[in-house]
């Protein structure tokens, strides 16, 4: 069928437009929460997605969760049934990494383990055409170090999206040491295609968003620990005082307390400043297995629909 169209153009001596900046297929490697969010958002903007997982079970799980998530969004009025169908049609799930050879852009959202990311990029470097741009979604690891695993260091760049990807209109774009201006502009345009506002940040722990929000959440925990105010009091004060959609402890529960602790420890270690010392309550809750909204209990208790059902207790 494609041949027909091409012949039509040839017969009539026409020149096909050059599509150097065109992104038509994006490979998303890793189908966790972030990978699913990326797949949805990219597909929603009319770009085909290859969602790649390491085995069939993981892929099935990712596809199911993605579909469930879309149903939730229909219930929340953000999309329609036909939007869902259109989104899913443009996402092709696969366990074959070799398929990345078709993509214009590759985004990895696999676990934050430097060796795994390096290995993935090294393999993809062999498989992808030379012009494909590699994006890492890391928020903790060095782009420069990951890029060094490839022969295309100038075409590797970081894009730090925030969860839930389809709702947060921001992306932090992170250059590695050797990232070229061309690659930067390319992903900047890609961010534009996804309707995201891009902020350029330099490779430094936590970038802007994580670096600024974390100490605030941590401080809120200290306020509770020191008995300055109750957990509910902190929530109300910050919500109403600064027009936040939710209080800091609710936000912490939503982000995942284990993630927060991991982050605070990383900032503390990397930047060496006392202000990043994780609050003991945070450690205590994580050690007690209270990880936040995702397992129903963090600072607050939640039912299976994620609705808050009980206040703070220790």
């Amino acid at each position: 069928m494609t041949e027909q169209l091409e012949r039509l153009v040839e017969e009539n001596a026409m020149v096909r437009p050059q599509g150097e900046d065109v992104v038509t297929v994006v490979a998303v490697v890793g189908g966790g929460t972030m990978g699913q969010g990326l797949a949805q958002t990219i597909s929603q903007h009319g770009i085909d997605v290859l969602l790649i997982e390491q085995d069939q079970d993981a892929l099935d799980k990712a596809t199911q969760e993605l579909s469930d998530n879309l149903d939730q969004q229909i219930n929340r009025w953000s999309i329609t049934e036909s939007d869902k169908r259109a989104i899913l049609t443009r996402i092709e799930g696969t366990t074959q990494l070799e398929k990345v050879e078709e993509c214009d852009l590759l985004i990895e959202s696999i676990p934050e383990i430097i060796e795994q990311k390096k290995q993935l990029f090294e393999v993809a470097d062999e498989l992808c055409p030379p012009e494909t741009v590699f994006v890492t979604n890391t928020s903790t690891l060095s782009i420069t170090e990951i890029a060094a695993a490839t022969e295309r260091e100038d075409q590797v760049i970081g894009m730090h999206f925030l969860n839930p990807v389809h709702r947060i209109p921001l992306v932090e774009i992170v250059r590695g040491l050797k990232t070229s201006d061309q690659t930067f502009r390319f992903v900047q345009r890609f961010a534009g295609m996804l309707n995201k506002t891009a902020v350029e940040v330099f490779e430094y722990p936590g970038y802007v968003t994580t670096r600024v929000i974390l100490p605030m959440l941590n401080e809120a925990m200290f306020v509770v620990m020191e008995g300055v105010a109750s957990a509910e009091g902190v929530e109300t004060a910050m919500k109403l005082g600064f027009n936040f959609e939710e209080g800091p402890l609710t936000l912490a529960d939503k982000m995942g307390l284990d993630e927060l602790l991991f982050w605070m420890e990383t900032l503390f270690r990397e930047l060496g400043d006392q202000k990043y010392r994780p609050c003991p309550i945070l450690k205590k809750l994580v050690h007690a297995g209270r990880l936040g909204k995702k397992n129903g209990h963090g600072f607050f208790k939640y039912d299976e629909n994620g609705r808050k059902i009980a206040g703070f207790d220790m």
Binding site: M1, T2, E11, N12, G46
Partner: protein, 401 residues
């Protein structure tokens, strides 16, 4: 003169090639799924020859390139060479307050249109893409923009202004613009031709009932009020749009359902209307089937639809100070006798009375469906926006010479 009419949407381009000597359509078709895998070009020639082609069509320019190619192709085409296209007419959704009529497209016009993107973020960007692509491909061939809003530019200020602080109108051009102008214009002119009277002496109401629905009061040929407003959400109930709602209700729901502005936009535009009320479908045919199967919510949806239409028709008779012609057009207006009947039932006192049989027999064709003793003549007239665009294009290009 041969005129190519283009209607560029977000991922589609519809086209018709007119021979203006006899106003016949030489070929028509559309490209769908632009920028996605498996884009499709469907093309129909005047002799009924049809062809579908699939392939990769990355952007509007490529789409138009293919359209030009198929128009001159040996097997499917109707032209020897693309130079035979004398002019291109573009459908443009929003002309803001600036464009009260169709215009020859110049660099300045395109710049102006860029400024209106804010007013029609879903449509104008694609219309502009189409214009730029044509300019790239056809160079100096004159192009004309025909606006959905232009016909309503004659609305008086008390009709187009909202009861909001006037300064906001000055600051952001927030006012009622109205849409479907080309369609309301076409069917009102067609109705006048049928009755053979002067436009100046006619009071006409035109109901464009398709996926989107709007109704217009036309006095002496000029639109004096229309039901769509700043956006196409206002007015009648539609397939998936709510039509009129209390604006304070929107604020109430934003809080109750914890919605973002984007969610609310989708709620009003995609989850409401016939679809939202009935839970059955956004398609009037399926609603009517469901009503016949005693589906209660489909019945409610149907009733809201016809009740509101009747309310608008009656109020427009009021502002017009009488009525001569009532016109139904659009997918529902042309094909749903039941909607026409129920929305005019009991309006005898305004002079509107349909002939049951004529009404039931008229599906998708032009006809007078009024009762013999009706003071108001009611017509079904299939709309033809593309022809209006072609005619305007020809006219402006001729004037240019």
């Amino acid at each position: 003169m041969k005129v190519l009419v283009l209607n560029c949407g977000s991922s589609s381009v519809k086209y018709q090639l007119f021979n203006m000597d006899d106003r016949s359509v030489l070929a028509r078709g559309q490209v769908d799924r632009i920028g996605m895998k498996g884009a499709v070009l469907s093309h129909t020639r005047h002799d009924g020859h049809k062809v579908k082609m699939a392939g990769e069509i990355i952007d509007h320019q490529t789409a138009i390139e293919y359209i030009l190619a198929i128009l001159i192709s040996e097997n499917h085409g109707v032209l020897e060479e693309r130079e035979e296209i004398d002019a291109v007419g573009h459908r443009v959704v929003h002309g803001g307050e600036k464009f009260k009529d169709s215009v020859i497209i110049t660099k300045e016009v395109v710049e102006q249109l860029q400024e209106f993107i804010d007013l029609a973020p879903l449509h104008n960007p694609h219309n502009i893409k189409g214009i730029n692509a044509c300019h790239q491909l056809l160079h100096d061939v004159p192009m004309v923009a025909v606006f959905d809003t232009a016909f309503h530019a004659t609305m008086p200020d008390y009709s187009y202004l909202y009861g909001l602080p006037y300064v906001l109108y000055k600051r952001y051009a927030v006012r009622r613009y109205g849409f479907h102008g080309t369609s309301h214009y076409y069917v009102s002119r067609r109705a006048r031709d049928i009755v053979g009277r002067k436009m100046e002496e006619l009071k006409i109401i035109t109901c464009h009932l398709g996926n989107g629905c709007s109704i217009t009061a036309i006095d002496g040929g000029k639109s004096i009020d229309t039901s769509m407003g700043f956006t196409p959400v206002e007015g009648l109930l539609m397939g998936t749009r709510s039509g009129d709602v209390d604006p304070a209700l929107v604020l109430h729901l934003l809080g109750k359902e914890e919605l973002t502005i984007g969610d609310m936009n989708t709620l009003l535009n995609k989850h409401s209307g016939l679809q939202g009320v009935s839970g059955v479908s956004s398609d009037m045919r399926e609603i009517i089937e469901a009503v016949d199967d005693d589906n209660e919510r489909a019945r409610i949806a149907m009733d809201i639809f016809t009740y509101r239409l009747k309310k608008y028709i009656s109020s427009y008779v009021g502002i017009l100070g009488g009525l001569d012609l009532l016109v139904f057009t659009g997918g529902i207006g042309e094909n749903a006798p039941r909607v026409r009947w129920e929305s005019t039932e009991g309006l005898d006192f305004l002079g509107i009375k349909l002939d049951d049989e004529e009404n039931n027999d008229t599906i998708g064709s032009e006809n007078n469906i009024s009762a013999k003793d009706s003071e108001v003549q009611t017509f079904v007239i299939p709309t033809n926006e593309e022809l209006v665009i072609a005619i305007d294009t020809e006219k402006l290009v001729n004037e240019m010479d």
